[in-house]
């Protein structure tokens, strides 16, 4: 079957989908909570971002409802940025967007980890939105954190 399904539904994606990392919520005053929808299908991601210093992502979790692509993407995203510097996370978001819309990224950059798993998504414009949902939430969370601090 060369219809792109094997490429789209790579094992890493199905694994993150079935066993999401960093799933759940974080409570507390200094937690930034951003909810993103895909208006076309009702998919939803809520990202909880915790950073005491405003410089490091101390913790990040998500609650979501949606397809394998959007949920695995949230899992992979949280996994990638947890413990990273805010500025670095922002760069990773950028790189993810470059990658998913067909651009090139430095494949040897370890900090981009499993992003490569989404290569198969590029062929399916309708699913790029799914893949991007969590990343948009993170982007907005970082922006609104910056406004606070």
């Amino acid at each position: 079957m060369n219809d792109g399904m094997d490429e789209l539904y790579r094992d890493i994606i199905l694994d993150h989908y079935r066993n999401p990392r960093n799933s759940g919520s974080i409570e507390g005053d200094s937690v930034i909570i951003i909810e993103e929808f895909n208006p076309l299908c009702g998919d939803k991601i809520i990202v909880y971002l915790h950073s005491l210093s405003g410089e490091l992502i101390d913790d990040i979790k998500f609650i979501g409802e949606g397809c394998s692509i959007s949920q695995s993407s949230a899992s992979i995203m949280t996994d990638l940025v947890i413990g990273k510097k805010i500025e670095h996370a922002k760069q990773i978001v950028q790189q993810f967007h470059t990658f998913i819309t067909g651009g090139n990224i430095d494949e040897d950059d370890n900090s981009l980890g499993d992003i490569d798993a989404f290569k198969g998504v590029r062929k399916f414009p309708a699913r790029i939105k799914c893949a991007g949902l969590a990343w948009n939430s993170l982007d907005k969370a970082i922006d609104s954190m910056k406004k606070l601090t």
């Binding site: 789209l8 299908c41 397809c67």
Partner: protein, 416 residues
């Protein structure tokens, strides 16, 4: 199989050849187009009509005495008559061309409701409405302070008519309701609702987007007050819809969109309105769309679409029955098959509808996944999205079987 349904099946095969897109290969597979509730495909008769217009007699309508303009105008205006006949409206001037069902409902909200309702008046909707029959009323509520009330949907996916008897009260001025739910497939007993509404001196708007493509609709027999629907769901081009209302109601409506064609006189101080229906149709209309829609109606009449739609309902039911036997599938919609139309929503445990639809597509099967613009309805049943298969008269048993077989492939990939 009875001789009659054998004949109908042969007829389907013949009809399918009118729809060029049905020969399309999708990912190397045969196309099983089961997304008809979103939009229908177009027969070559409709496609050629548009071609013919633009190639032979196109011009702007209404304002010209030259031959092309006269011919276009005649072709355009003749569609008003075709539509009127199709729904048995008494007066062709009651037919207003819009952009689609959404546009029709918004126009009626701004044109009639905004000018005839006041704070505290009630509009009754239901819990199975398309966003097109929700959001315009939210906007109006926020603007003029009317009250919205919803006829609940029961656990069996039908409307709670007992509750409706209380909800439609003497403050109710309008009941605006779908004839058929596009997300659940539920057929609403509109006659009962119309009686309830009229008993309370309320008028009734029927959203016929999902029903008119499949069945005979007689606005006079049913005593409907306002009817809206879209051409693109019944073989017509995109960008065309109908707002029909009784003339008495249209007379209570104020124009909403100002411009050319909708006036009888303009000065630098103001304007006088043109007659009904023109005062509701400002600017150059979708001439090709409307003329193409006229051809779609002719085609539906010629093929005797109602018999054919009954046949596709049989195929829809056949498919649904097979799905019901799959233990990993949960089907939404009324149990009683008389209360449901040729579409159904379903969910597969632990596989998101998007993923289901994606893999079905890789097998050539086109279905819709999502909230079907009925988010609150799905939410009420605990879903944020479902897969929806919807049938039209060109669908055949092959389409049905292709869906069923492809679902096994979905299962294999995700539930292994």
């Amino acid at each position: 199989m009875s001789l009659e349904s054998k004949k109908l099946l042969d007829r389907t095969t013949q009809i399918r050849s009118d729809f060029p897109i049905l020969d399309r290969k999708i990912n190397g597979k045969r196309l099983a187009y089961l997304d008809n509730a979103a939009s229908s495909q177009k027969p070559m008769q409709v496609i050629s009509k548009i071609n013919d217009l633009y190639s032979n007699y196109y011009a702007n309508v209404h304002r010209g005495v030259h031959s092309l303009s006269m011919e276009s105008t005649e072709a355009y205006e003749s569609v008003r008559e075709k539509v009127a006949k199709f729904i048995n409206a008494g007066n062709i001037n009651e037919i207003i061309f819009t952009k689609g069902t959404t546009d029709s409902i918004n126009l009626f909200a701004q044109s009639w409701a905004k000018n005839n309702l006041k704070k505290g008046d009630r509009i009754v909707l239901s819990e199975i409405e398309h966003h097109a029959n929700l959001v315009p009323w939210f906007m109006l509520r926020d603007e003029i302070g009317i009250e919205l009330a919803f006829i609940p949907v029961l656990d069996d996916y039908t409307l709670d008519i007992e509750a409706a008897k209380k909800i439609i009260n003497s403050n109710t001025r309008l009941v605006s309701i779908s004839h058929i739910s596009n997300s659940l497939g539920t057929i609403v007993p509109i006659k009962d609702i119309i009686d309830l509404a009229h008993h309370n001196n309320a008028i009734v708007l029927i959203d016929g987007a999902q029903s008119i493509p499949h069945q005979n609709m007689n606005v006079i027999d049913l005593d409907i007050d306002v009817l809206v629907f879209s051409a693109h769901k019944m073989l017509g081009p995109t960008g065309v819809g109908i707002l029909w209302a009784k003339m008495d109601i249209l007379k209570q409506c104020e124009p909403v969109i100002g411009g050319g064609d909708m006036i009888s006189k303009v000065t630098f101080d103001g304007a006088l309105w043109n007659d009904i229906p023109f005062r509701f149709e400002a600017g150059t209309p979708n001439i090709a769309g409307v003329i193409g829609f006229g051809e779609a109606i002719d085609y539906l009449n010629e093929i005797n679409y109602i018999d054919l739609c009954n046949q596709s309902h049989v195929i829809s039911e056949y498919t649904r029955n097979l799905l019901e036997e799959m233990e990993f599938v949960e089907i939404l919609g009324p149990k009683d098959k008389l209360l449901r139309t040729s579409l159904f929503s379903f969910d597969i445990k632990n596989i998101h509808p998007h993923d289901v639809a994606q893999i079905l597509d890789s097998e050539g099967v086109a279905v819709r996944a999502g909230h079907h613009c009925a988010q609150p309805t799905l939410n009420k049943f605990g879903f944020s999205s479902t897969v929806r298969a919807s049938f039209y008269f060109y669908n055949n048993f092959e389409d049905a079987n292709q869906l069923i077989e492809s679902l096994q492939i979905v299962k294999k990939r995700f539930l292994q």
